[in-house]
Subunit: 333 residues, 2 copies
Amino acid sequence: MSETGHAEYVSRLQRRVNSYIAGLVVKRKPRDVNEASRHILMAGGKRVRSTLLLLACEAVGTRSTSALHAGAAVELLHNFTLVHDDVMDNAASRRGKPTMHVRWDVNTAILVGDILVGLAYENLLKTRTGNRARMQAAFTTCLLEVCRGQALDLEMGKRSDVTLSEYLLMIEKKTGYLISTAAEIGGLVGGGTLRQVEALARFGKLLGRAFQIQDDLLDIVANEKHFGKMIGGDIIEGKKTFLFITARDRASRRDRQELLNVIKPAPRVTRSRHYERVNLASALYHKYGVLDAARARIRKDTSAAMTALSALPPTSARDRLYWYSEALLKRVS
Amino acid sequence: MSETGHAEYVSRLQRRVNSYIAGLVVKRKPRDVNEASRHILMAGGKRVRSTLLLLACEAVGTRSTSALHAGAAVELLHNFTLVHDDVMDNAASRRGKPTMHVRWDVNTAILVGDILVGLAYENLLKTRTGNRARMQAAFTTCLLEVCRGQALDLEMGKRSDVTLSEYLLMIEKKTGYLISTAAEIGGLVGGGTLRQVEALARFGKLLGRAFQIQDDLLDIVANEKHFGKMIGGDIIEGKKTFLFITARDRASRRDRQELLNVIKPAPRVTRSRHYERVNLASALYHKYGVLDAARARIRKDTSAAMTALSALPPTSARDRLYWYSEALLKRVS
C-alpha cells in the first residue's frame, strides 16, 4: 500500500475510535464532571495508543472491530493519566488549552480522572477474547506501573543527580508501559501466539521509549506554532529529561554548574526570562551534541522496535504498523 | 452461636484480612508513596466491607478463604475513596490522625489513591470463581457509582435546597454501593444462586443506607473520645446530611433561616465558635425530632436489610451476618 493509502487507513481507524469514544460521553449528571470529561476526551488527542492497539490486532490476523472496546480502554486510561498528571505537575495548559484543574478546579480533575479509570475498565470488560484474563492482568499492571512511573518522576523532580538509567526506567513506566500494553493487548485480543504477543509488547516498549525521547527533543527543537505551547517548558519546570541528563554528564564542571542553575525550577518567569534560560540551556545542548545523541537514540530504539515486528507474519497489516511507527517519530508536536 | 462466639469469629476474619493486606504493602520505591500507602491501609479501619464480603460468601455455603482476594479488593477500593475524598473535602484528619494530603502532600494523596485502585483490581483478578465476569462488572460499576456519588456530594455542598430523595440517591452511590457490592461479590465468589446474590446486594444496599444515616447521627450524638474527632464536623463543613435536610423541611420559617445561617460553611472557626454553632443546630435537631427520625429510619432500613437475608439458607453463617449488621449499627464511632 502507498504512503497515502496507509495514512488514509489509519485515519479511518482513528475516526472509528473517536466516534466510539464520543458515544461514551453522554449527558449525565452532575454537569461539571460530564462537561470536563467530554472536554478532555474530545480535545483532539492523536489516539496513538488505541491506533497501535487496533493495528496490532490486525497484524496478528484479526479484524480490529473486535478490539474497539479495548482500544477505547487504553485511550481512557491514557486520558486519566493526563488529567491527574496535570494536577500533580501543576501544568497550566495541554494541547494549547487550559488544563482541567485550571478551567474547572482540582476536585473536578481528580474526580474525572477517577471516573476515566472506571470507564476504562468498563470498556475493557466488554472485550470478547479467549485471552480475557491475560488482557485484564496486562491492563492492571499497566495502570500500576504508570502510577509508579509518575511517582518516580515527581521524586526525580526534586533531585539533580538523576542518572540516565533511572530516567530510562521512569519513562519506561510512565510513558512506555501504556504504549507497550496497547500493542500487547491488540495482539491478545487478536488471538496472536505467545511469541507474537511478546514481540508486540517489546515493539511497544521500544517505540514508547523513542516516543518519549522524541518528546524531550521536541521541547527544544519544535516549531511553537505546531507545538501549541512555548518551547523549553521542560527546562523551566526543571524536568530531568534525556537532554538534560546527557548534557550534565558530558559538560565541563563550569558548564554543568551553569546548566544546573538554568534548570532550577522557578514557578513564575517572564516571557523574556523564559527564552533567556531556554537559550542558555539550548546552547549547552548544542555544544555537547545532546540533540544529536537524542536523535541517534530515537533511531536506534525505533529500529529495534521494527526488528521486533519481524516475528509477525509479513502482511499489509504489519506494513501499516511499520508505517505508523515511523510516522509517529516524524511528528512535529 | 453466642454473642461472644460471633464476635470472636468476626475478629478472626478481620485479622485474616489485616494480615493479607499487610502483605500487600511491601517495601517498594518510591518511599513516600509506599509509606503513605501503608499509613492509610494499616490505620486501623474496621474492615467493614471485606468482613461483609467474607460473611456473605460463607452465607451462600462456601468457605471464605476463596474470597480473601476479593475482600482485599473492596477494602483497597474503599481506602482509595477515603484518600481522594479527603483531598476533595479538604479534610484535616481521619481516624484521629492527619489525613494523607496533610501529612504528605496532595500529589502523594492523588497518586496513592490511583495506586490503590490498581491494587484493588490486581487482587480482584486473583479471585477464582465461576462468576468472574459478573464479579468484575459489579466491581467496576461500583467504582463508577462511588465516583458519581462523590460528584453529587460536591455539587450538593454548594446548594441549600437539596431534597431528601437527592440525598438518599447520593449516599446510595457514595456509601451504599461499596457495601452492597461487597455483599454481592461475596455471594458471587461463593457461587450463590441468582436469587441469593440479589438478596445479598439488596441487604447491602439497605444496610449501607442505615450505616450512612448512623454516621450522620453520630456526628451529633457521639462521644468525642470514642469518635476520634470533634462532634458537629458535618455542621461546620455545611454538609447536607439526613439530619439537616429533615430539620430544614420540618422547621418554621424562622428556625429554617437560623439553621441555614448556622450551616453556612466557614473554613476556619475557633473551638468555642465551633461548639456554639453545633449547639445551635443540635437544639433545632432536638426541637424538630430529627434525631429520633434518623433512629427510626436506621431501624426501618436495618430491619428491611435483615428481611432480605431470609432468601439465604438458615445457617450459622447467616446468623453471623445478622449479628454483624446489628453490631455495626450499635457502633459508637
